[in-house]
Structure formats: C-alpha cells, structure tokens
C-alpha cells in the first residue's frame, strides 16, 4: 500500500510550527547572532531565524545524551565514618518533555536511530536517555543540496530517508512535499489537517526529480563500502593508522562532534565535604586515559594506535554487531579535525593502498 503523501505550502510552515509548539518544545536549526547555525531550542518563533540552508554545526546527540549530565547526587554522613554505609544516593532523572525536532537532516536522524540501539537496544534501557528520547517527534528535511564535506550517499544514510522519521519534508520551491512514516507523524497530520493538501502526481514527479538531482551534487567520493569490505576481509592498515595516530592532536573533537560517538565516563564531583554529584561526561577513545589502567599500563599503544579503535569501531565492529557502519557521512569530523585525521582520510588511505596492491597484482600477471 502506498503511503499517503501531502503538500504543506511554505507560507504555512511558521503557523504549523506555532501549533506544534502549543504542546511541545521546538528544536530547529537556528542561525545565532554570530552567524553559526546550530540545532537550538527556540523560545521565540518570530525573532529567531530558522536556517535551513546550512548544515547545523552540532548534531542532535547532546539533546538526548548531554555532554555533562548529573546522574544522581550523594551525601556522606560523617558520623558513620568512611564506610559504604555513610553514602546515600539520590537519583536525579530528567523530565520527559515532549519535543519536536524540526529540520533534522537525514544523517542526524540516522544517528538518533543508531544511538537508540546503543542506549535502548540492550537488556538494560538507559533511563536518562530514554526520558529525553521517549516523547520526541522528528520532522526531517531531505537534503537537496549536500554540503562540502557530506558523503551520506556513500554511508547510505541520505540524502533522502526511506524510514525512521515521523514526517519527512522535501523542499519543492514554494512548498514542502511531506511523507509520513511513524504513527506519531500521522497523528500530527490528523490533528491539524487544515495545513496539509494531498500530493498530486506533479508533486510526486517534482519530488522524484529533486531526489535524483541531489544525488548528483556530492562533491566527495568516499568509498565507505570498499573500506568496510577491506576491514571485514581482515585488512589491518598498520602503517596508515600509525601515520594518522602521529598526526592526531588528542583534542577529542572528532568524538565530541560525531553524532554516533556515545562513549562516556562517570565521575563523582564533590561539592563540599559531605555532598557531591555523580556526573556522566562524554569521553573519547582517542584519549590516553580512556584505556589506561592502574600502574600506567595501556593496552593501546597511544603513539601508533591512538585512532585505531575509533575507525575500527565505526567501520568494522558496528558492521558485525549491528549490520551497518555507524559512520553516517555527515562530514563534521572533516571540518573539525585540525590534524587531518578524519574518517574520510582513513577511508581514502585504506582504499588507495588497496588500489596499489591490485595494480601490483595486475603487473604480476603481465
């Protein structure tokens, strides 16, 4: 059965968002006063400007998994002494607010689905993530114009989504082509039917045309599939990893900007002698302290293997575990890394080495 498709006229976007905001908070890409576009919670629809022509610098990760999150606070009863009984813990759960995420890019939507498998997919659901995630509604925006570093076509997460969204908007000039996937999206259309006109054949043609054109607009050719295949065949590009590790400047920017890097650390931060907070903070596998053990032993040779775990996790381990690579092709690490140690460079290096080998093999046959 073909899913119902709709048209929302652009003039009616703001009125539509205003209705949505009556029962939900709204997060959208907003250009701030110093020119950066970020996914931001909007407080004022009329005076903040939604920016749909730029790639948001952040992903949605921090909305569900904040960089620093209080898990609980504790108190120490000094009268009891220093034993375990002296500690009392008081959980602190985030409230489960209804939030609509508007203008979400395909790669970022895919990243949320990946994070779901990490935080909600196992035997134990992460209650903190779940509280923030449970009442989220996603209105995605298909990418008609991929950005400079994008390679979602190669990572198979975009530029158009086939599933996973509540509503997917496609810009057709004066109107949005609206597709519905999840039940929550259908409910929205049913709740405010006045905004949505059924899409006609012309609209479907225009939508198909836009999807075709956007596929031709990628500026990078990144062979994600080949890299995954090579790693799966047991390729271990030690020299390339050592070269990239030497150039890695250990800032952790790649992991922090990455929409699918979910490693964290938990630390207790004393606020005074008798109380404190237990907080969870983002962490990165490229840090020395991530794998360092007591006695300063480190199972990872930091100098030559610093970035190994990161690339293997994305392109090999997650393929084995979840059936697909967890790099969504957003290209943010390419813009972020100042050592030039981004995932595209790794994939290019891996594939180039393979090209050289096959050339040699061919020469051998001659």
């Amino acid at each position: 059965m073909r899913r119902k498709q709709w048209i929302l006229h652009k003039d009616h976007l703001l009125p539509f968002l205003r209705k949505l905001r009556k029962s939900r908070s709204l997060v959208a890409p907003v250009r701030n006063s110093y020119g950066d576009t970020m996914y931001t919670e909007m407080n004022d629809l009329d005076n903040e400007s939604i920016e749909l022509a730029e790639q948001p610098q952040n992903s949605l990760k921090s909305f569900f998994f904040p960089q620093r999150e209080k898990l609980c606070h504790y108190s120490v009863d000094e009268a009891v002494g220093d034993s375990a009984q002296a500690y009392r813990f008081y959980p602190s759960l985030p409230e489960s607010r209804a939030v609509v995420y508007f203008g979400v890019r395909s790669c970022d939507m895919f990243a949320v689905m990946y994070c779901d498998t990490i935080f909600l997919g196992g035997r134990e659901r992460d209650v903190y993530y779940d509280a923030r995630r449970r009442n989220a509604l996603f209105i995605t925006l298909a990418c008609n114009h991929p950005f400079e570093n994008c390679f979602c076509n190669a990572a198979r997460t975009g530029p158009y989504l086939e599933m996973g969204y509540d509503l997917q908007f496609t810009d057709l000039g004066d109107r949005y082509f609206v597709e519905v996937d999840k039940a929550r999206g259908r409910e929205v259309v049913q709740q405010w039917p006045q905004f949505f006109v059924p899409a006609g054949d012309d609209d479907r043609q225009a939508h198909y045309q836009a999807a075709l054109e956007s596929r031709g607009l990628f500026r990078r050719q990144v062979h994600v599939d080949l890299a995954v295949q090579l790693l799966d065949q047991g390729e271990e590009p030690q020299a390339l990893l050592a070269e990239l590790s030497a150039r890695c400047q250990d800032c952790g920017g790649c992991a922090f900007i990455c929409p699918t890097c979910t490693c964290f650390n938990i630390v207790d931060q004393p606020l005074s002698d008798d109380r404190g907070e237990r907080v969870r903070t983002w962490d990165a596998c490229t840090f020395d302290g991530f794998t360092r053990m007591a006695g300063n032993h480190n199972s990872v040779q930091i100098i030559s293997q610093r970035v190994t775990k990161r690339f293997y996790h994305k392109l090999r381990d997650d393929v084995l575990r979840h059936g697909r690579s967890s790099c969504v092709g957003c290209g943010r690490c390419v813009g972020m890394c100042f050592g030039g140690v981004d995932i595209v460079r790794f994939i290019d290096g891996l594939c180039a080495a393979d090209d050289k080998r096959s050339e040699k093999r061919e020469d051998g046959h001659d």
């Binding site: 110093y34 650390n265 030039g340």
Partner: protein
Amino acid sequence: MAGLATTFGSGAMTNSINELSSAQVILLSGSNTTEAHPQVARRIYDAVDQGARLIVIDPRQTAMASLAHIHLQLRPGTDIPLLNGMMRCILDENLVDELFVEMRTENYIPLRDLLLTIDLNEVTATTGVSIKDIARAARIYARAQRSVICYCLGVTQHICGTANVQSYAGLAMLTGHVEREFTGVDPLRGQNNVQGACDMGGLPAVLPGYQMVADPVVRDKFDRAWGVCLSDKPGQTLLDMTHGAGSPGDKLRAMYIMGENPMLSDPVLDQVEATLDSLDFLVVADLFLTETAARADVVFPAASFAEKNGTVTNSERRVQYMNKAIDPPGAARDDGWIIMELSRRMGYAMEYESSAEIMEEICLLTPIYGGMYHDRLIDNWGLQWPCSDRAHPGTPFLHKFSFARGRGRFQPASHVPPAEPVDSAFPFLLITGRSYHHYHTGTMSRCCPTLNREHDKPFLDMHPDDATRLNIPDGSRVQVTSRRGSCKFFLRYCQSLAPGDLYCDFHFHEAPVNVLTLSARDPEAHCPEFKLCAVRVEEVI
C-alpha cells in the same frame, strides 16, 4: 619581544599563521608545537605534506622533531653558537643575500667579523651538533626562496633570550628571508592574548600601542583623553616587583593581580611568597581560589573568557572578537566591570557602556589599532594590526618594502653559558615546559575531570641510561633538588631527551617547579631563565 624590536623595529610575528603552510623551509626552534600550539602544528603538517623541509632545533625529540628532516638536538642554552655556526656556513658557501644585506640592513660588518672568528669544531664541541648537520641545515634554510623561522619560549626564556632572538633575526636577514609573504621570523606567543596585553601597554615602559611613556607628546595625548597627569616614569617588571629589585625607598606596598598565579608561575617561589606577605594590601581577581588568591586580603570572583564579550589578539597580531557564550556564575563579574567599579569608588568615574566603547577609545589613541572597531571584527576572522583607520584592510605580514625601524640591524652575539652550569653536586640540567592537557598553573584545566584524568601527576622525564645508572625504576617517586629548594615527581623514562637533561612541566601545585628555578634573567627583556637550572635527583623511599 625586545630582541625583534631592536633588529626589525617591531616585536611581533612578521607573518600570518596561514602562510606557514606555503613555506618551503620551516626552521622551528624551542617550540613543542604539537602540544603548545596545535593550530600552528597543523599548518606545519600541511606544509610538510606539500613538500616543505622542516628543520627543528630543540634539545628534546618532540613530535615535530620526529617529523623533521633535520633535528639539531643541541645542548640546552647553546642557540647562539649553533646559529653562529650556521651563519658561518652560509658565509663560507656564498649563500649570503648580499643585495638584501646591502640595501636593507645595517651593522653587517661586525657580524661578518665575528663569524670569521667562529671555529666550527668549537661549535660542535659546545652544542653537541655535528658540523655536517649544521651545514646541511644552513644550506637548506638559505637556498629556499620561502624560508620561515618559528620560535617559542625555548628560545626566549634564557638569560640570553634577547640575544638568542637577535641571532635568529640575523640568520633571516643574512639570507634575505624577511619582508615577503611566507618568509620571516615568527615568535609563537604563550597564551591567547599575550600579544594583546603587550599591545595594550602591559609592559613597563609603554602606553598602548608601544607608545613610549617617556615621550612627552604621547603622554600629553593620553593626559588629555583621560583628564589626568600621567607619570613619566616607566613601571616595574613583574620580577622587579616580586623579587624586590627596587630600592628600599620605593618598596611595593600593594598589588592588584588579575588572572595570574605568581605563587606557582614565577621563579624562586620562596621569594615571591616573602614579597606577597610583606605587602600592606593584596587584591586578586581570578576564577578560582589560586595559591596566590589564598594570600589576598580581597578576592574578586572574575568571569571566564566564555562569560564576557571582547577581543583577544593572537601571535599573528590578529584581533578577534569573542562572544559571550554563557552568563557568569553567582557574583562573578568581568574584569572590566571590576576595574570600573573600583575606579569609580576611588574617585575616578570610568563610564564605559560596553567593550565596544572601550575599543573606540583604543582606536582613537592607539595608531596600530586605529581601525579596529568592534563592528569590523564581528562575523569574520578579525583584522591584523597595523590597521590605521576604518578603511585599512589590516596587515598580514610586516616589514613589506622596509623594516619598521628603517634598516634591519644585525646584533652579533657570542655564547652566553647557562646561569647555572651543572657540577658534581647538581649534575642534571632541568628543562621546564608545558604539557598538552594543562594550561599554565592549572587553575582552570585541573578542574576539568577529563583533562585531569589525562594528566593527573607531575612527571619528571629522564633518559633511561641515567635512570639505570642511578638505579631508579620507571614510575618511582623522586625528589628533585636545586640550590633553592626541592619538589617531588613521578619518574618517567623518556628516550626523547639527551642523557644529562631532565624535563618537567610546571602545571602542578603538588610539584611547584618554580621553587627550583632561578631568577637570573635576560638583561633587556627581564625574562627569567625558566628553561634551565642545575639539579640533583634522588629516589624517595
């Protein structure tokens, strides 16, 4: 600063950081660039990727030294003989840019006479670098069209810091590697706004924009703007203040310290402590209660960089606007607010509405900042001074067509041995520096759990040969003692040092390295010899 000012006429980076990636040869000295200036290191990687040759002068095998085509691993504090050796090779091989020397410089003959007395075997004996490597480095540097020199605190924090800088400047002038894009002499500043602090008159003898206090015309201009009568006497340097060089008559009675922690960062901490304790009144403004703030009569909680609007000026003279990202916590206020309130209550009302209004006054009174209005700096990467008026596009590289002081001046120099040579009682030379994860005295960075996890202990790096000889295992607690004091570290075996040298960084209050260092300093810049002192090492049992 003083070194470049006397040779070129301006004490700042001659180029832009971006130009580095297009250089053909980069000579890097006394800089652990990947750890201290990663954004500069990135350009050096780019340059090397594009085929540039990298020469590193450093007593340690830093990451940059590993990348280098030639690493001149000199003995600490022997930059001048090494450079004299290189310049002698350049002279011998007819690589001097004679036209440039003739047209654009002065005082060349004394330098040439000095170079002719240099014995390269002696240079090798002093520096520990082979004649072959010196000659190769000299040839590579001199022959390329676009050669650039970058140096950092490893060059300046010596008793001969000014002469060191003058020697590097001399090398650049001798081969004509100044005044053009991609060539020059670039000091890398230690912090994000050291350049800005100097530009704004944070030096004893100058008012904003390096206008001399001693000049009556300059004073008159500021007198009229501020409605006061300024003193014609230069102020004191930090070390004069904390180490009481002034005569007993003008003993310091009160201090107001902002965002500085001399109780950890200045040499001979005992003396700093005595000075601070002898003050009648000490005021400190800082984010946290530092070692210095703990001794203050009044502490002002100051706002951090993320909590205020304003500009910073980086190494390449670029004035950049920074936006306030979050509100200051609690009663914290930005330093400008604190100063204005203090001033008002002391009877001189400063009524600036915003940092933009202060910047307007800077534009009015400081010729090199003449066009740096806030509205020109917002939404872009800022402007590089000199920028004389609103229409001026800024200046990416200095000394185009002519040095700021007219002709570049050669300042020949001879070897100045370290102030405290090693002897049998103190057989090791201790080099101090900075590590990647911490900033200065750790006031901020040690409060961040992730950064502190990455580096939570004070390490002392020692060559394994030395450690084996002393029979101290890796990871042991060791006590390091100099003539002035001692502190404890964890020993770390380290191949990147030459035997006989030790290295540690100064971020840790548990190991206040500056109880060890000495206050001997450069006669012109007054920068202390932080980098070197003689010590002995014992295992703590």
